[in-house]
Amino acid sequence: MADVFTAAALAILAATAFGLFRVLRSRIAVERMMAVQLLGTGGVAALLLLGAASGVAATSDAALLLMLFAAFSCAAFTRGEEDTPDEDPQPTKEKT
């Protein structure tokens, strides 16, 4: 059972990593706000699975805090969000 949990955590970690780099390299400034959301859900899922695999109950406390601060970071992103320019060297490619 523990191995299955770790495997699932690894799969989620990999999926989150690909998604994160996609979001971080995005030319549209707003999309980068998704990064922390992505890591919040993915990280929490991985943490819960790791906790279940290792049997350390306090791991879910870390997951709780991770989620709380992922939500908190939403507030952080409103700082200076309004006038962030899109980084757009090739103007038409990404915008549909």
Partner: protein
């Protein structure tokens, strides 16, 4: 009974992990910001819900189970707020100056 719980856990966790993969594929493949946002917040949150649901039978105590549910509720709150903020910001940018 325990075997049934184990099977349920395995199924739910696998489905949850698959949903995370699906969410990432959506994020990589969808053409515009709003559909990518859609892929991210819906698929990932459903994935997390399935994993929480799968881990619930394995929880050692009632408090642990409640904590799992609280984590999921926080995830809902966070996802809802972040999506609204992102979409609102996108809207203002399109219609703005």
């Amino acid at each position: 009974m325990t075997i049934l719980a184990h099977v349920f856990t395995l199924l739910a966790v696998t489905a949850g992990a698959l949903l995370f993969l699906a969410g990432t594929i959506g994020l990589l493949r969808f053409p515009d910001t709003l559909s990518r946002l859609h892929a991210l917040s819906k698929a990932d949150n459903l994935g997390l819900a399935l994993i929480v649901l799968g881990l619930l039978p394995q929880a050692a105590s009632l408090t642990d189970g409640l904590k799992l549910i609280l984590i999921w509720l926080l995830a809902q709150l966070s996802a809802a707020t972040a999506s609204q903020l992102i979409a609102g910001s996108l809207n203002r940018r399109k219609s703005g100056p």
